[in-house]
Symmetry: C3
Subunit: 444 residues, 3 copies
Amino acid sequence: MKWKNTVLSAGMALAITNPAYAGSEIETLITMLHENGMVSEAQYGRLMAELEQNKTQAAEEKAIVEQKLAEATKPSDVEVTIDKGINIKTRDEKFTSKIGGRVQADAAAYGGEPDMGDGTEIRRARLYIQGTMYHDWGYKLQYDFVDTGSAGIKDAYLSYTGFDNLELKAGNFKDPFSLQEQTSSKFISFMERGLPSAFAAGRHIGVMASTRHQHWTLAGGLFGDTVSAKGGAEDEGWGAGTRATWAPVNNQADVIHLGLGLNYRETGGTNAARFKQQAESHISGINIVDTATIAAVNDFYKVGAEIATVQGPFSAQAEYITTSVNRDSGNDLDFDGWYAQAGYFLTGESRQYKNGKFGGITPKGNVGDGGIGAWELALRYSTIDLNDAEIEGGEADSVTLGVNWYPAPTLRFSANYVDVLDVDGGTNDGDEPSVFQVRSQWAF
Amino acid sequence: MKWKNTVLSAGMALAITNPAYAGSEIETLITMLHENGMVSEAQYGRLMAELEQNKTQAAEEKAIVEQKLAEATKPSDVEVTIDKGINIKTRDEKFTSKIGGRVQADAAAYGGEPDMGDGTEIRRARLYIQGTMYHDWGYKLQYDFVDTGSAGIKDAYLSYTGFDNLELKAGNFKDPFSLQEQTSSKFISFMERGLPSAFAAGRHIGVMASTRHQHWTLAGGLFGDTVSAKGGAEDEGWGAGTRATWAPVNNQADVIHLGLGLNYRETGGTNAARFKQQAESHISGINIVDTATIAAVNDFYKVGAEIATVQGPFSAQAEYITTSVNRDSGNDLDFDGWYAQAGYFLTGESRQYKNGKFGGITPKGNVGDGGIGAWELALRYSTIDLNDAEIEGGEADSVTLGVNWYPAPTLRFSANYVDVLDVDGGTNDGDEPSVFQVRSQWAF
Amino acid sequence: MKWKNTVLSAGMALAITNPAYAGSEIETLITMLHENGMVSEAQYGRLMAELEQNKTQAAEEKAIVEQKLAEATKPSDVEVTIDKGINIKTRDEKFTSKIGGRVQADAAAYGGEPDMGDGTEIRRARLYIQGTMYHDWGYKLQYDFVDTGSAGIKDAYLSYTGFDNLELKAGNFKDPFSLQEQTSSKFISFMERGLPSAFAAGRHIGVMASTRHQHWTLAGGLFGDTVSAKGGAEDEGWGAGTRATWAPVNNQADVIHLGLGLNYRETGGTNAARFKQQAESHISGINIVDTATIAAVNDFYKVGAEIATVQGPFSAQAEYITTSVNRDSGNDLDFDGWYAQAGYFLTGESRQYKNGKFGGITPKGNVGDGGIGAWELALRYSTIDLNDAEIEGGEADSVTLGVNWYPAPTLRFSANYVDVLDVDGGTNDGDEPSVFQVRSQWAF
């Protein structure tokens, strides 16, 4: 807005010289009258002197006013907006600060076996502060109050973006793995991620380098253990991961996405691993498949393949993840799972895709602005197999139907019906539980 | 402040046309001189042309300046105030954000039996973010850092106020029950609520509808269990509650309040209940009356009657609460309690009353602004009876004397002396402990 | 910036009277023409009247414009800056609010005995809100998310600064003791404080009075127990502490500091004490010296002597702390320790010293602003002796080499190598572990 000052001053300059102009005909008149002999030489001199003095004075005053007005119209140094959290930034964007958060309040009713207690929970209650310092440095601290102690620390990192199109990160954040994991819980199509999220890589303390382009992204990192891990006399676990995505088509409402992720983890002092999953519902906390703790596990690695598309109001995504567990003794173990889902916006919106993951929804009309918000229907099939060798964790597959209502970009209500078609093996062998659950969410 | 622009522009308009005006006598003069034959036809023409041109030029410049000044004087989009927490709002109030919190630091010394350890504690240390989105939507997340994990989550909800005089809420918040519970701990007259707070309904995850008017309020909700409850294979508890208040008189410093509350709770998988109370002091954590866990409890309901008044600097309130416990086997149980309290502001302030509960104090003169703050004396008698059938939790009654000093609206210092007149029955039968405790508080 | 209004209005005043001035020669001209008999008496009257009316009108319009412009140029009531956290203050500084925090992400590798597990941790993840209310009142609430429940509450207090050069505090904050403890973990020269930090006085709930001058400071307080202490039937512990500092030389980059601290603590109901220390590394959590819990301890007191200096880019500090433990039975115990450290800024910066402790670093050139930040080398020797009478906690001494890089005032990267020269006595007798650890930090 700096331009305003100059133009304005210019405008004022003209405006103030006004009197001088408006006086020009006086000068002419006086000269004429003098020529016509109506004004004596002496009088003419006096008039002209007075005129000159007035012009000079006008010029000086003009200068003062211009300077003062320039100050008065200087724009403020920072911009504050609160439509999506509290956002403050300096106009040169050298510094930015954002305070945001989310609350997801859930309720669920369960049917069939195994017994799962109907109930409610605050699924997530997060607050974060995030920003930029000195152009090139980024920081974030996010905490989830539903967790206890350090386990609640989610993103907690420092980043450097001074190199062209490259971001370096140090601290606690998600391993680069799996499309449904990279997509924020604010924006996934259902209340919970599909069954293969049992193989999620999660967050660890480490360092990562990543680059983002319109048609591809690449990220790779080295990680220690989780925030809450405390080795004591034993080494903590460590890991490494990389993820590559390719979007041959990436336009607004027209996307094709392919992704591949690799994730390795050494178990460290625990020397054990466990994989388990609930019925795409978190309230009761009951697992329908569970390998229990597998002892003598030196390390395991995961491979994930992703495919997704957006075609106007329609979107679809699918992932296959396999996990290979290397044991000091006994056969190695292979577990895997996959899901495929589709969604459709009755109100015509499209899922946003950027940097190899999905973002939020912007309704065509917000409730409170005279609109009805965005309405989405979604369907998912997902399956997971935790049976291998002597380990009988169980195999499960389920179908989930979801309805999402986004009254505004920061608001969401969801209803999910999960039908677990079958549990095969494990403690819940033969069970076919079903879930009906609802959520209210605000997030920014 | 939009009006400023227009008025201002108007002002400028006049101001800038100034030269033209100031030139009007020139026109007259020229015309006269022409009529008087002092100026030739040719000269007259030249002068008039020059005059016309100057007028036009002046008009154009006027336009530029008006436009620029309108921009320069456009008010900022958001207003920021920090006298009571950090408040940010858009001028159209479509969006608002507030960051607030409170810290209460307490110390206590105990006398008599049972043994209660002298000590200190941070009673509450809360931070919250709250606001409005798109006019009609409200959100809040408040956490108390003295608690552990999800137990610290206090208000965590989403609300809709788009319907006339009706608020719909979903998430975690207080059941609508009991005047002293509805009144914030920042604003209650003593450091702790009266003995019947053993029957407080507390906060649960649920949905509630409420309407507020100057002379009455009505709220009703359906609730699940607490944030920290985790059912596992068992159903969590659930409940329902309603509260109606009537204020036949409700003016500044002149209030009469009547209230009635009903609260029902099904115990869910725990199938148990427990009621206990401390000596209106939280530091030692010792209970003077306690039913211990009552088994085989299917559900219980509470009824509360409220009456309160404000007459200038004087205020008084009283409540009676009874709780009926239904057991699967054995007699049902009835517990109850009541309190009556009065307060007086030596400095002439009045308790604020709004929406069926009490609010904060605004001293007539703030310390730091040359005032002495607000000084209040308060006295309370309260009693609770947890003896029924074979359950001997004990009966207790106490008298509490309190002094409150509010140096400013956001500051408070309190000193309370609690004299437990008698404990009758239960493990502390015959004891008569006393408490002296002090608090420093900032809250906004 | 209030001056702007007045000066500006003045400027405008002149500017607007402009036409009148610019018209003065007209008046002269008219008068002359009248004297010269070129303008009739009647015409003269008409012209003068018109002139007069125009002057009046000009004056009125001038007034409007001045008033409007004064409003338009009124500065906003609050100032917002975000270069070091979110800072908001009213221009009269009657109210201020700051939101700040810090994240320290660490990794360590260990060598030698005892076994210490390599790993990572978020050392600190803090958020705080702090400010001023009504000129004279200060408030702060700071929480560390790596801790659990109330243990994470760090500063949580209310303060009064209305008396000349005196601060009164109530709430939870650090006892006034030890230079390296008073200096924030953001600003200490190494990743961890020296071995004598085993004798740190820590934070307690209490009241303190302190005064600060350029050449000396004095603080004294009465304290209860820690936030997390819960006495139950037993009294909590309590204590008292005082610290005096003297800086005969205290200029920018030229400081000599001397300090003396006394700290007394009564153990309360626990009636026990324990002193332990890690190898100046927090990740593994293993103690190299540890008295284990010493029973029958009634109270103990600590004496600490401090000396420090800043000479341009060079800085040095040393402390000796002794602790005397009084037991109900058995000999009293004496433990002690000391450290001496030196640091040098290769890039020429100096450590900041104020109010008897060290502050942050301001690089001569920030990374992101074309600079390379501040680079510091630091060396420390520290030792602690926990052997006395039958208590064999062990004696240890270590040398630590540190490198610190401050890309900007709010950013820091550190690498430390700790060589424990010897552990003498205790469970780790004869061990000589070594540590290599790194940290990334943002803090404001």
